[in-house]
Each structure stands twice: as structure tokens, then as C-alpha cells.
């Protein structure tokens, strides 16, 4: 897509997105959109590390969980409003990811993935057992949210609109970060590292630093997503925010949407949420069956993801139109 038409498309999308909550009273639709936005943030977080840096993590739930716990604890114990707290949650997750990354990045390929799995399981164990910090399996519950006035109006936390707008903002931050990464020197370095790590070192690329910085960004986004979760759902416990299913869902979104693309996580999130809702209607449970199935189908038939394939088709289409136009 040419830069100008891409920006125009995103602008149109943004305008429509912001207008929606004022145009409809369908709370279910708004709730689904909130979920889509949140999952886009999480998918983008995984995509930054998995799609751009090529490091497959099965432990991203840990970063999400840290963001969630940080946000809810800061609110319940220190009175920090969650709309600020979630950013701190992101920072906390980023800070956690740095030493973990420094250790895990000494491993390559599948060894790295297995290590992230172990780290995430350890995090869940800690959350379950260090009751003095995390309340153990009981978790935390927010009963009342603080009052907030925006532009002279009191925010009504019972309505979906404030959460919708916040989620949309977070999604914008996530997608913008990804877009920035793609065009930056760090993004170029990540491509090089994926292609040939030794050759990258030989031309002066600090591969360790690049990977850690990327992980920190990935962690920040996942943590912010976790913070939002705590804010919107008002309940955090080890099973809800630290289970491996969450990690797999993030992988799924990034993969199905399209690794290494900016729009991929949004497409993936739409897909995932649609499936989840459809399945919930028909069968109540079993949406993970379809996640697994679609992951397999996508890897087999659409390895560049839905959005990835769409972009390729668009590019081919434009090339053909240019040829015909010139002829």
C-alpha cells in the first residue's frame, strides 16, 4: 500500500472507531469491540517479539499478568487510579522482561521458547503461593472505581464508552509503536538478526541489546494490556491472568493476523474474538478447539497470515494495474 493511501485508510478507520460508541447503544457490540482492541494490543505485543525479532515466546502471559497485578495492587493498596496504573503496569512488565530476557536470550530457537514457558509457569506458581503479595488463588477484586471528570462531565464507569475509548487509545499506541519499529533502525536490525545472527554481529549489530530492547517494548505493551484487563474486568487472579492459554492466544492472534505486519494483530484479534463469540453462542465451551484448528490451517495454507497474504495480493494487484496503465 502506498504510504498516503495507508494513512488515509487508518485515519478513516480511526474516525469510525471513535464515532461508534456515540452512534450505538448496543452494549454487547461495544463489549466485543473492547475485547478486540485489547487483544490487538496483546497480539501486537507478541508480534513485536515474535514477528519482528523472530523470538517465539510461550510465556507472554507472565508479562500480561504482571501488568494486571501491578495495576490492581497499586489501586487497591496505594489508591493509584487504574488509568494511570496501567501504564505503570506496562513499565513493570518491561522491567521484569529485561533480566529475564538477558538470561533467556542466551538460548536460541526452541530452547528459548521452552525457557519462556518455564518462566511463565514459575510466575504462575509464585502468584499462587506468595499470598502476602498476590492474595494467592483468591486474587483481587475492585468494587468501586474512583470518580473522574473529563471535560466537565463525570465519567460513568458503568457504561462501556469510557472503556471503549481507552481501549481504542491503547490499541492506537500499540499499532503506532509497531509501525515505528518497522521503519526504525532497530526494526532493520531485527530483520538482520532473523536472517543471520552471526552476520548481523559481524556488521556491528549489538544483537543482545536489540533483542532486549524489543522484548522491553513487547513487555510494555503486554503489561499495558494486562493493566487494562484489571481495570475493565476488575478482577485478577492467577488463573485468569497467568494461564498458558493466554500466551497461546497471543501467539494465535499474531500468527493468524500476519507476523511482522502492523495491521495483522488487529485482523487476528477480530478473528479470534469472532470465533470465541460464535462458539460461545453455539457450544458454550470449546473455542480453543477452533484456535488450535485455525492455527494449524493458517500455518499450512497461509503462513504469512491473513493480513500478510492480503498485503501480498494488494501489491500484486497494484503491480498488474501499473503494467496495464503503462501499456
Amino acid at each position: 500500500m502506498s504510504p498516503r493511501s495507508a494513512v488515509a485508510a487508518w485515519a478513516a478507520f480511526a474516525a469510525a472507531a471513535v464515532a461508534l460508541p456515540f452512534a450505538t447503544t448496543n452494549t454487547f457490540l461495544l463489549h466485543v469491540c473492547i475485547l478486540v482492541f485489547m487483544w490487538t494490543v496483546l497480539g501486537a505485543a507478541w508480534n513485536v517479539l515474535g514477528g519482528f525479532a523472530g523470538q517465539v515466546s510461550f510465556g507472554h502471559a507472565a508479562l500480561f499478568g504482571i501488568g494486571a497485578y501491578t495495576t490492581i495492587i497499586l489501586f487497591l493498596k496505594a489508591g493509584v487510579a487504574p488509568w494511570w496504573g496501567l501504564w505503570i503496569g506496562g513499565v513493570a512488565a518491561a522491567l521484569f522482561s529485561v533480566p529475564v530476557g538477558l538470561i533467556c536470550f542466551r538460548l536460541r530457537g526452541p530452547y528459548f521458547s521452552l525457557a519462556t514457558l518455564a518462566v511463565a509457569e514459575l510466575a504462575k506458581l509464585v502468584a499462587l503461593n506468595w499470598e502476602w503479595a498476590t492474595n494467592g488463588p483468591v486474587g483481587f477484586l475492585i468494587t468501586t472505581l474512583p470518580a473522574l471528570r473529563v471535560l466537565g462531565h463525570a465519567v460513568d464507569w458503568e457504561r462501556k464508552t469510557p472503556f471503549y475509548l481507552l481501549a481504542a487509545l491503547l490499541m492506537a499506541v500499540a499499532l503506532a509503536s509497531t509501525a515505528w519499529l518497522r521503519r526504525s533502525r532497530l526494526g532493520a536490525y531485527l530483520v538482520a538478526i532473523r536472517e543471520d545472527e552471526d552476520a548481523a554481529e559481524a556488521v556491528g549489530i549489538d544483537t543482545a541489546r536489540s533483542k532486549v530492547l524489543t522484548l522491553a517494548l513487547s513487555g510494555f505493551l503486554a503489561g499495558v494490556g494486562g493493566g487494562f484487563y484489571a481495570f475493565y474486568f476488575r478482577y485478577v487472579d492467577p488463573d485468569a491472568v497467568l494461564n498458558i492459554g493466554l500466551s497461546m492466544e497471543m501467539v494465535f492472534i499474531a500468527m493468524v493476523g500476519g507476523l511482522g505486519t502492523v495491521g495483522g494483530p488487529l485482523i487476528g484479534a477480530v478473528f479470534l474474538t469472532t470465533i470465541a463469540e460464535l462458539v460461545r453462542e453455539r457450544f458454550q465451551v470449546g473455542h480453543l478447539i477452533f484456535y488450535g484448528l485455525f492455527m494449524m490451517l493458517v500455518i499450512r495454507f497461509l503462513p504469512e497470515g491473513i493480513w500478510g497474504r492480503a498485503r501480498l495480493l494488494l501489491a500484486a494487484l497494484r503491480a498488474r494495474m501499473e503494467r496495464h496503465g503503462a501499456a
Partner: protein, 288 residues
């Protein structure tokens, strides 16, 4: 002292069964350099196969293994031929994620079909512990151990004495050379994957009378399995045996002397330490 020996014995017995799971994974890795994240689900299928054949047809689990092991072998070969074979050329990352998807699919299909209720297998002879040398040993675990040892022994003979076994070892050591020597590596890969799946399923059948059964048990088992094969060295069968027994013992002793809640955590920590400081395994035989 008695507690120590008791938990040591218990650890060795369970560890041997873990080892069988590990052997399956390590053979697949050795031949195809892929890490099968759905391996835990293969064990789970074996467990439930044993459960249902006892519940529906009254077949004793240790007898049913005669039917289920070959069935799992066939399943493995089918999975390889029709699913995995096309994915592997797409690279390590894709294959890893594909098996992750498969794992999700199988575990959740099972969850849907059989619900998440914990199941157990009750054996008429399983209630009173045997007491060799005064150590309490649950009969189910003991029989499972004996059969596991027998199967591992048979596997050892297979790998060492038969042509296919040698072909598997050769392909595992140097795939290109094996091709040049006229070995049909595709066939070897299918057999290896079938073998790995059969071992996982068989281990599931043998473990079934001794554990709680539930469809998502694969999640827990796959991590233990990785600990084992990394400890023992990816690709090494003796390493997997040693790693399995070591993990079983560490968990058992850890549950008694450290804490029951953290016993899984011990495994993870051990795993991370080995990954960092001796990624080729405690015995240094693992391949990268």
C-alpha cells in the same frame, strides 16, 4: 531414613514412566529436529484410552496396552504423513507453532468430549501396597515400572539390532550422510514419529492407574518432558532415561523435604539452570 528411601523408590518408579515419555520426544527430535508440543496430548490420549477401555469393556489397563501401543504408533505415522510432512519444510518456527496448534486442538477436543472432571482408574488389586523390604509400593506403579522397563529394553534392542533401528540412529546422527547411504529418511521419519507417539501413548496407559486423569494434563506433562530431555540431552535416549529418573527423584524428594506446592517449581528451576549452563544436557550429549 525410611522416608528417604521410600520417596527415593517412589521417585525412581514414577521417573521411569516419565522417562518413557521423554524417550518418545527425544527420538522425534533426534531424527527430525522438531520439538513436538503435542507430545503431552499423546500421553493424555493413552491415559484416556486405558480409562475408557476399562470403563466400557472391563479391560485391565496393563493388558490394553497391547492394543493401544500399536494404535498410537499408527496414529503417529498418520499424523506425520498427512499433517506434519508438509509443514516441516516451512522451518522450525512454523513447525513448533503448528504442533502448538495441534496440542490446543487435541486437548480441547478431549475436554469437550470428556469434560474436565478428574477421573481415576480403580484396580481391584491396586489397593493394598506391596511391601518389598518394608517399602510401600503401590502395585499399579510397580507393574507400570516393570512394563516400562520391558518396553524400554525392547526399544533398545530395536534401535541396536534391527535395520530400521540402525537407520533411525544414523538419520539422527547425520541426516545427509544417511541419505547418501541410501536410507529412506522419509520412511525413517514416519517410523520415528510413530514410535515417539506410541511411547507417549504407552506411557499414558501405564501411568493412568497411578494419576488423576483430565484432558489438559498434557500441559503439565509437556513441560516435565522438556525438563527431562534437556537434562538428558536432546536426542539422546539414555539421556532421557537418566533425565526422567532424575526428575522423578527430585520431585519426590522435593515434595517431602522442601514443599509439595513448589515441587513442580523445582523442576522448572532445574530446567532453566540446565538450559543456561549446560544446554547440551548434564551428560553433554545433546544436539543443538
Amino acid at each position: 531414613m525410611e522416608t528417604f528411601v521410600q520417596s527415593l523408590v517412589s521417585g525412581v518408579l514414577t521417573g521411569a514412566l516419565y522417562a518413557m515419555i521423554g524417550i518418545g520426544l527425544t527420538i522425534v527430535f533426534g531424527v527430525m529436529r522438531i520439538i513436538n508440543l503435542a507430545h503431552g496430548e499423546m500421553v493424555m490420549l493413552g491415559m484416556f484410552a486405558a480409562f475408557w477401555s476399562q470403563r466400557l469393556w472391563g479391560v485391565d489397563p496393563f493388558v490394553s496396552i497391547l492394543a493401544w501401543a500399536p494404535a498410537m504408533f499408527a496414529l503417529g505415522m498418520i499424523l506425520y504423513r498427512f499433517l506434519l510432512r508438509r509443514i516441516i519444510p516451512g522451518g522450525e518456527l512454523n513447525t513448533l507453532l503448528y504442533t502448538a496448534g495441534l496440542s490446543l486442538l487435541v486437548a480441547n477436543l478431549a475436554l469437550f468430549a470428556w469434560t474436565g472432571d478428574y477421573r481415576t482408574i480403580a484396580l481391584s488389586y491396586g489397593l493394598t501396597p506391596m511391601r518389598p523390604f518394608g517399602i510401600a509400593v503401590p502395585p499399579a506403579l510397580a507393574i507400570g515400572f516393570v512394563l516400562a522397563a520391558a518396553i524400554t529394553g525392547a526399544l533398545w534392542l530395536f534401535l541396536g539390532r534391527t535395520d530400521m533401528g540402525r537407520a533411525i540412529r544414523a538419520t539422527s546422527q547425520n541426516r545427509e550422510a544417511a541419505v547418501l547411504m541410501g536410507i529412506d529418511v522419509e520412511r525413517v521419519a514416519a517410523v520415528a514419529f510413530g514410535l515417539g507417539t506410541a511411547l507417549a501413548g504407552a506411557a499414558g496407559v501405564l501411568l493412568a492407574p497411578s494419576l488423576y486423569l483430565y484432558p489438559t494434563v498434557g500441559e503439565l506433562l509437556i513441560v516435565k518432558c522438556f525438563v527431562i530431555v534437556v537434562l538428558g540431552g536432546l536426542g539422546s535416549v539414555p539421556g532421557a532415561i537418566a533425565g526422567g529418573i532424575l526428575l522423578g527423584v527430585v520431585e519426590s524428594l522435593g515434595a517431602v523435604y522442601v514443599s509439595t506446592t513448589y515441587k513442580d517449581g523445582l523442576g522448572y528451576v532445574m530446567f532453566l539452570l540446565v538450559l543456561l549452563y549446560r544446554p547440551s544436557g548434564l551428560f553433554g550429549v545433546g544436539k543443538s
